[in-house]
Symmetry: C3
């Protein structure tokens, strides 16, 4: 019975005794000052860097976004204004694709080849040499010449020059590079409306770039300006290009890719109304012409026609222009228990190791003259 009582007591002791480490209190002012100073530094680091700069008490989420765009404006093609047949182009003609995607292309320059039909014609040569006259074999060998499939015949390209005959859409495009001045130079005055809706799914937070508190009549007339009108969703194309550090009329000649970046980085612990889009602009293609492959931006597309007899013809357009890409990115943060505990806990751990190291070094300096009467006490 004594043994039973004893083992029961042992269990109670095991279960409910509270242990606390014995500590020595070192009444040294030097060590104490270093100790408190280190604690102060740790506190400053925690408040300043961990909490304020890194916001380590927040859980984060990445933005999910939708963008629709609408371009407005029209242009008379350069040089055609005073002719008998001025060429007028509007939004349905020069924005590709037309449906208002987040990535769209505005035609600023072009090479048009009208009335092409699938047939046989001589290759285009930019130098006046009849290279195939004595080398008909040459026409057969290189079947993969750019414009089409060689038939093996050598035919008259002009009165003096003969070239290989090809099967292709004829007449072939005469591509001597884009016009030195952009044909649709008025494109710089086109306006662009961007509607952007974002969601942070983890926080069930939705927001649009056209804010409800913004005056409706302001929205109808404003034009974006990074300093005076930073929340107007209507942009002038020339302004976008110049904010990206480029000149519109230069870029319009060979084309390029221009990024419209919308940054939705938000601190959702603040007032939700502080979560506003920040627009910036950057040229995305390489305009270092010395080494670049296929500089600028262009592509070919065709319009198809049918004659009353049923033969198909097409107008081939090599379109140069600026491709605008609306790129939405951002991270939202909101207070959450777990990252707070994780970040504070582990930062404290690491820093307490550092502080102990400092104190140990201080103590080493005092070892020559050890304190004679340390006080023992329990503390936690």
């Amino acid at each position: 019975m004594g043994a039973a009582k004893s083992s029961c007591q042992g269990f109670l002791h095991y279960a409910f005794d509270y242990e606390t480490p014995k500590t020595l209190v070192v009444p040294s002012i030097a060590a104490g000052v270093v100790f408190r100073f280190t604690q102060l530094l740790i506190l400053l680091y925690l408040v300043g860097y961990v909490c304020i700069v890194q916001k380590a008490y927040q859980d984060t989420d990445s933005v999910v976004s939708t963008v629709t765009t609408k371009v407005k404006g029209y242009a008379v093609i350069k040089g055609s204004a005073n002719t008998s047949s001025p060429q007028f182009r509007d939004v349905a003609d020069y924005v590709i694709p037309p449906q208002g995607d987040k990535s769209f292309f505005v035609v600023t320059n072009m090479i048009v080849t009208t009335n092409q039909k699938v047939s046989h014609c001589p290759e285009v040569r930019y130098f006046q040499v009849s290279y195939c006259l004595l080398h008909v074999v040459y026409c057969v060998a290189m079947v993969s010449s750019w414009p089409g499939v060689r038939t093996g015949r050598c035919v008259n390209y002009s009165d003096t020059v003969q070239t290989c005959q090809v099967l292709s859409w004829c007449p072939l495009e005469e591509d001597t590079g884009p016009n030195k001045e952009a044909l649709i130079d008025a494109a710089e005055n086109f306006t662009l409306l961007i509607k952007n809706s974002v969601t942070y799914p983890k926080f069930n937070f939705h927001r649009r770039n056209i804010m409800p508190h913004i005056n409706s009549s302001y929205l109808k007339t404003c034009v974006f300006n990074s300093s005076t009108d930073p929340h107007c969703p209507i942009f002038r194309l020339k302004q976008i290009v110049s904010d990206a550090g480029e000149e519109f009329q230069v870029m319009a000649v060979e084309g390029g890719v221009l990024g419209i970046l919308i940054d939705w980085t938000c601190d959702l612990d603040l007032w939700a109304s502080q979560c506003l889009p920040k627009y910036s602009f950057r040229r995305l293609d390489d305009n270092n012409k010395s080494h670049v492959l296929a500089p600028g931006y262009n592509f070919r597309f065709a319009k198809y026609y049918k004659s009353p007899e049923g033969t198909e013809s097409r107008t081939l357009i090599k379109a140069y222009g600026i491709r605008f890409e609306v790129i939405v990115f951002g991270t939202a943060g909101k207070f959450s228990m777990l990252p707070t505990l994780v970040n504070l806990g582990s930062t404290l751990t690491f820093l307490s190791l550092v502080s102990e190291l400092i104190i140990t070094l201080t103590q080493l300096g005092e070892l020559a003259n050890p304190n004679p009467n340390p006080i023992t006490r329990t503390a936690s």
Copy 2:
């Protein structure tokens, strides 16, 4: 030699002595109960919140996804069914772009202007005032009027009204807003097939929304319903819109943007077959008409024709409709060593600080009556 032996012993002591803090065992039931209770709380927090709710033992990755879509259905344009020339439209006519992207537009209403040619014509006026008769100057000044470039002449728009002449695609579009009832109202019965393939590159995990275990004959006839058929990849457009809390025929008049959200949030530590897509639907544009800029969703596109004589004409279509956006998001988690150690370690640290604080407060209450005989022992 004695000194050498002594320094060697010193090194051995330094290298292999094991230090353990001396602790006081406080045989106080009150302190012990609080101590164990705090430990229990910490354990519950770790298991419940950190492990089960936050899954802090997992490494995470964001989804990489591809979507292809296919719309089926046809419609007879409203009001044309019983006329001599009924207008029939199928998938190739009303889905833009046609190639099955994750974002596509279904035309539901339109304003068609046929046989436009680049020429001169009077501006369209919706009120019966000949504003330019006495103010020819006015026609020249505002060269950037919407429809085209003003020539400076004042011409007859109707028998009684005169307006400025413009160079444009003529005749001009008479845009008095969309039809009050959607012209392609049958669009609500069109079906949409979504094929979605996702990857979590960090875990080399691939999955499709059409699961291999789903019966093939079921797939051919099913229609998505969030409660009865939540994994059928075929959607009825009307159902999508109504699940987003909107009415199809109302939305079809002015158009809008509708998000089809696919949530692939997965716990890859569970059976992989539990990783299933969750579909939800949300209207993405602002339908608060009181303050919105350009409500609804519309854009203009053209079909180009050529007469036998070579003059180009176009049919301009201002298309109103619903743009569907398939938005795929999600995060997958899988057990990983590092986050487990980081999260458990730091949570333990932080909570042990908290528990010590509680215990210290308990001890303060006992200070008046300190335990007379604490037991000293070494423990870790």
Copy 3:
């Protein structure tokens, strides 16, 4: 005054006394070896796993990217080469959409239905049964038959077969599946140029897949090969498909979706020049034909024509082909203070708990023979 002095001393003690736990030094070689060995393991884990494998000292960011593409090549449609009207197709004809998006479709096979007009025609039947002759009611009931709206009349489809009359684009497409051999088989030799520009916004790091240090004349002639030319941005379509483990001519018949994955996972603490794209290829649609819904990839689009009298007709093309999707992903890491402290601190905490557990177990083995003279000292 003595009390004041005493309380002042108390405060000073509280503020500047430094406490350090008393420890027992256990001069046991066994415990000491285990203790140091455990410390070594922790060190190895920290250096090897946490620092080198997981790079836990880094902050991370997700890639933001833009892609433009350009396809080159032409083809003569199979079987038409030696006829009187060979059919030639180039880039403007077979790449949809034409504007060089990151997702584009190359037509490899097709069913063409020319000269469709909205009118009445008999339904197409692939079996020779006049199903409607005795069941005119049947034609009315199923108004939602695929090709169009049934009029209720039963008309001659051929000399011997009668089918329901429909209102649709007539003549109807006779869809008996794609050609068994791809019509544009030459598509395998088309080349694809990919221009990809990436940004890690958090680190203000920009990079292109066409690196400045790569020789410009090399770029003009190279073709991507995963082992010999891994950084050439020009791809042969056949090579892409075969690197994905598929055969081009097989895939070309019914079409499919092919992912071109560009991995920009980068360690920005290393030389920036080491941050290079890694290309890989994977088929994204399900080619397990036994259970799949709508295998392959195809869509319908139309070209619209107008006769001189103004009636509209269209050529409907059901295009089969390969949709290429350029998918850019990646995470960049760079040294940052906070994750270093968090990860090291908490890993140390967790592992020191583990090490204490091991040591306690070791001590239990020594309890039978307790060390008679432990040395008490203060240490941190």
